[in-house]
Amino acid sequence: MKRVFSKSAKMLVLTLMGILVISATAAVYYSLDMTSTITTAANDIWFVEGLDNVTAGVTLFNDNKSATLTDLKAYPNITMTYDDPIKVRNNNTGTNHFVRLTPVSLTGTATYFVYINFTLQTSTPISLNYTSNGASWTTPSQTSFVQVDMNTEYSIVVETMANATAPADQIATIEIAVEVQL
């Protein structure tokens, strides 16, 4: 009888100790699971000037991660196409990435424009087509992601058209984003 009690006591002590050790280990593991180590990294995707960069008034800044195109024109009843004002480059030599175009903002009168279209010439082209009915703009929705191959550049083609009665010096300002999925 004495021995049984002794064994039970030992079992109880070992069980309690075991629960304590397992709980403590689980708590440490949980805290470890919640630990995130975040380091900064150089980006692989950036803008590069295209052949039509002078005509389109392209300026690159912020280490080629931002660009403005200030000399784009829209002519009445004529489709004006800028074939290669600016390019998107995947500078990584070993990894393909995915990008999409996202509308950010649009200001300016809709009265005299017909459309302004931005197309990224990937193998499956994606585009943001801003259209005007003469009274208001229709902002396109975000595109789907498309692959940009490693060490490759893709042009963004810009097409514009103003309506037949458009006077000179009417301005529309459009901001779009190239979002990258690694």
Binding site: K7, K10, M11, L14, T15, M17, G18, V21, I22, A24, T25, A26, V28, Y29, S31, L32, D33, T35, T37
Partner: protein, 161 residues
């Protein structure tokens, strides 16, 4: 993003194994040395210290190194289970208990470990070991259970052949 395993999970698993073995060694104290449960408890506490140190030096150790020292701890724990089974079978000559032990403790512990290692391997390198491992394990498990539960039937079957 789904749930993903950290290498330290293997230490956690090893600690569980040591604690379970400690209780088993206490339960079967007629067959094992009296100090053995405490040795296993000490090994479990060692695992706790192990994971604690790993957390503090997380940024210093790379993923590969973390995996290997955690995997080593789990391997030691599993090796101890197998050693206990061999001890029961060979030294103590307790064949029946050894068979039950292998079916209820050793095999499930190995299977669970293979499951998590496979999951980790698929997460890191996209290698799916579990399909093959589970298939083989299931066959072994089925045969073990049939032999364990009805050895006479198996013996008769072999005699007939």
């Amino acid at each position: 993003m789904g749930f993903s395993l950290l290498p330290e999970f293997f230490v956690f698993l090893g600690v569980d194994v040591f604690v379970a073995m400690s209780l088993l060694a206490c339960l079967l104290d007629d067959y094992f040395p009296k100090t053995l449960p405490y040795v296993f408890q000490a090994a479990a506490i060692g695992g706790y210290v192990h994971i604690l140190i790993s957390r503090d030096f997380l940024t210093l150790f790379g993923d590969s190194m973390r995996f290997w020292y955690c995997f080593l701890y789990l391997t030691v724990a599993l090796a101890n289970i197998i050693a206990l089974n061999v001890y029961l079978a060979v030294i103590k000559k307790q064949w029946t208990i050894a068979k039950v032990f292998s079916g209820t403790v050793v095999f499930p512990a190995l299977l669970i470990s293979v499951f998590f290692i496979s999951d980790y391997a698929s997460q890191i390198a996209g290698v799916y070991l579990l399909h093959i491992a589970m298939f083989i394990s299931a066959i072994v498990l089925g045969l073990s259970i049939s032999v364990l539960l009805s050895p006479k039937i198996v013996r008769k079957y072999w005699k007939r052949r």
